[in-house]
Symmetry: C2
Subunit: 313 residues, 2 copies
């Protein structure tokens, strides 16, 4: 049996037909339109095309899984709030069910990315897993006994929004000092720029061709690999923020595995080894506790589609 | 059917026979002895006496539930580490099963206290519930869909040990700035003493008969009720620490209810109303999110026995 996975983004909506092994058989995408109806109609059309393209019929499909940024009420299949597309209380499952006689499941995008990694990706051998997606913000996903835990009312698992530094930097959520303010890619970019402004001789300036607007999540990491002292300091501080945030998660969930996703996770072992070195110092949370494996996500750009389809596994 | 609940403390071990309504039919206690065998033998004797006293036989008992401070491996019924009694890797379930042909379940004391409140206490009407026990440290319990979530390897739910202030006060766990360093009764006492030393005119000095060693978790609260400005400041700061820690938990779990237990919770509505007032400021975490009810524990001194028995409900 197959499942459809839909990955709703701010710029485009990606769709795929996924088999039981988590492989995408065929996929498509379209640019998001202005109105809810336009977007939903396009989804319907694209899903029908995918099924036809694979020479299947609707009875071969277990259901349609959808990953969506913003606030989702999974139980009712309602997208409560999706700021990027100006959606508010859109009964997406109900709207799709007018065209498809099959179950529709919707969850937060970070949640489905985590589920995808546990069912089909880097954490296949683990049951209780937590993930950070390090991007513009810090998203979070929690899987307990191979099942998604979305928090009460399906509105928890906001792992970017627990406090790292009380009364610290202003967070978009209204509070101050959240993990997201220090461990997101956005935060790393700000930390990198700050350090560059304080050290005009850093090789990071050459790396970005003298233009600070070219700084991204790789700048400090790549220059630290070539021995730039200021870049090293930026990376060490960032690792400290991230590792401390992870230790908090370890003490709360003691997951068998912890996954890093998002652009920053492309740093792979270079980042993982530094994180482990910090965690090793704290026996209560790591060294002498049951060990949490630290992994990097492997589904990449397909995580949204595959994770959404995994809602049916 | 009945269940036995055993509450292992550092000074004494309390035991009770609990009915399906969560009422203690009869109970007993004994002072802890030096060796593991002495303690286990006394447990066996006391359990047998309780069953006899209630004119029941072992077949009327669903099982023996045990709440225990320190680190417990629930799956195997082994007390991995109980510093107060110098226990290390004690196979308690196996030892008791030599005397009782019934299931034995062991969990951390804060975990069983939470379960007891959800099954029989203040949170009976809720399914997903988190609790802080504010005492010497900050213990935590997590109940999801009426079932205890102990974290992977049954070693999570250490809610006193996520970061509130990165690089803050030294915590007993080895890290710095944990919730426990700011929100425990111990922390409140230190915060109270500090404020008193800075204000020799505070009425708190009269409250403790001029002896700072008499300060306890009530001192600042009681004097703030009579309008003492310094006491007010202590309470406000403590509420800030506690409410911010709670908001982090709300964002992670979005529980239907949050329970405050331990001595400090005796402040009841005076404390709860201040916590709510702080939480109300943050729409993302509280005001416009699905509402988390804030409750105070009601099982009191019996929480350990009743919660341990609740492992069989």
């Amino acid at each position: 049996m197959y499942a459809i996975g839909i990955d709703i983004g701010g710029m485009s909506i990606k769709l795929g037909l996924v088999n039981e092994q988590g492989e995408i058989i065929c996929q498509s995408r379209f640019k998001t339109a202005t109105t809810v109806n336009e977007n939903v109609n396009s989804m319907v059309e694209h899903v029908k095309n995918l099924i036809e393209q694979a020479k299947l019929s609707q009875k071969d499909i277990l259901g349609i899984g959808i990953g969506c940024p913003g606030a989702v009420t999974s139980e009712t299949g309602v997208v409560a709030y999706l700021p990027n597309l100006n959606w508010e209380n859109v009964p997406l499952a109900k709207m799709l069910n007018e065209h498809f006689d099959m179950p529709i499941k919707i969850s937060n995008d970070a949640n489905v990315a985590t589920l995808g990694e546990v069912i089909y990706g880097c954490a296949k051998n683990y049951s209780t897993v937590v993930m950070f997606t390090l991007g513009t913000g810090v998203g979070g996903g929690i899987v307990i006994d191979k099942k998604l835990f979305e928090g009460g009312f399906s509105r928890g698992a906001e792992l970017g929004h627990f406090t790292l530094i009380l009364d610290g930097e202003q967070c978009s959520c209204g509070r101050k000092g959240c993990v997201e303010c220090y461990a997101s890619a956005t935060a790393l970019i700000n930390q990198t720029k700050q350090a560059m402004l304080e050290d005009k001789d850093s090789s990071m300036w050459t790396f970005v061709n003298g233009n600070i607007d070219n700084v991204d999540g790789r700048t400090a990491f790549e220059c630290s690999k070539t021995g730039d002292k200021t870049a090293n300091k930026v990376v060490d501080k960032y690792v400290y923020y991230l590792a401390e945030s992870m230790l908090s998660v370890f003490n709360i969930f003691r997951p068998e595995a912890f996954i890093l996703g998002g652009g920053i996770s492309a740093q792979g072992d270079y980042l993982i080894n530094k994180l482990k070195a910090h965690c090793e110092k704290f026996d209560y949370g790591y060294r002498d506790a049951p060990r949490t494996e630290i992994l990097t996500a492997k589904l990449g750009n397909d995580a949204g589609i595959i994770g959404a389809a995994a809602l049916f596994r």
